[in-house]
Symmetry: C2
Subunit: 228 residues, 2 copies
């Protein structure tokens, strides 16, 4: 489904190069369920942005459905993303002056879904994360965990085939965190959605079928979870 082949990502800053990723190869299979763990600053979010086609590698190749996305221009890449990938950002990245409902409906606007239909689907997505009573609120009027759940709803509303979530339960208590994990796992199990999540929490990582450990811009290890 998504394959990174020896990708690097460097940031140039006044003469110094920060090598966020130093040569990573990884395949996200259809129906995969993986957790990415590793120290702060080790390259996890950078890797997620490359897998999610939100960024381009400095060197190396990224293939989505077998296609080299390096050959696509920005608008073709945006369309591919919109059709197949749902992304939950570590910092949520919601539009501050827009209601929760309209934030969640945004991916459907790009797809040309009619207004009534997309508002209905956005309301359902918010309902699934227990925010049905907050559809008219703006992010600045919501708690950290509520904003995180709006970001999750937005990533799911377009029914993507790959869900990339960067620390999706970081601001959630156990009950809400479990509910979110339940949604993701059901999508994976029942609809074959590939789920990749970055997490700092060992018990969240333990639920995945494989754990990818990142350190210093490289993949240090990939562990397959034993059959339950």
């Amino acid at each position: 489904e998504i394959e990174a082949v020896d990708v690097t990502r460097s940031y140039r800053m006044d003469g110094v190069s920060v090598d966020a990723l130093r040569g990573v190869s990884l395949t996200i299979e259809e129906g995969d369920y993986a957790a990415i763990i590793g120290p702060s600053g080790s390259g996890k979010s950078t890797l997620m942005h490359l897998l999610g086609c939100l960024d381009r590698p400095t060197t190396g190749t990224l293939l989505v459905g077998g296609r080299d996305v390096g050959t696509l221009d920005d608008s073709e890449l945006a369309e591919l993303r919109n059709q197949t990938i749902g992304f939950v950002f570590q910092s949520f990245q919601l539009l501050a002056r827009t209601t929760a409902l309209d934030n969640v409906a945004l991916p459907l606007v790009y797809r040309g879904v009619r207004r009534a239909e997309r508002r209905k689907r956005a309301a359902e997505a918010l309902d699934a994360v227990n925010l049905g009573h907050r559809v008219g609120h703006k992010p600045t009027q919501m708690s950290g965990g509520e904003q995180q759940r709006v970001a999750i709803a937005r990533a799911l509303v377009g029914e993507p085939s790959v869900l990339l979530a960067d620390e999706p339960t970081g601001n959630l208590d156990t009950v809400n965190g479990d509910e979110v994990m339940g949604i993701l796992e059901r999508l994976n199990k029942e609809r074959g959605v590939a789920v990749v999540l970055v997490t700092h929490e060992a018990d969240i990582a333990a639920r995945a079928r494989r754990i990818i450990r990142v350190r210093d811009g490289l993949i240090e290890a990939v562990a397959e979870a034993p059959e339950p």
Copy 2:
């Protein structure tokens, strides 16, 4: 040190009132070490903002050092905050176009500390959270966990007598999270700094001497940790 007496906080929004806090009384003693836990949206950040004098209660009284802060105007309140309280925000709230060093030095600017002195102290604070090599970077050039650590360094640089931290390890891996907790606990133990942290992680909460459980805008329980 900081005392909330029957405080409430409501937000009015087009005819509807969201009662974030519905009558909370709580005292943060000198040298206290408390964890605030509770579901997403239950009022923890709202309570922290009131204790930190970043917000005013709708009803009820807030006393700092025995003084009713309701009698202070905004600039007197800002000065009190700057002198005695360090605050780590759930969403960090760093200045995006400012380097890590200058972000951390900001509380000292308000206090009138000379430029060379405050840059030295800011560099030391960043060093303490393992970001000494990043002083010239801006928040947009840093990982989530790095930004969180900059926010922590900024809260500590003014040597406050009360440290209020809203989910300070949410974006940190175990090693970095433990180091941050170590810094806070050392300040509490060796310098009598009162530490209050909001956390969703049970093992972080378990380190505190008392756990304050919030639910639905009210304090549900306060548990004193047994002597070790």
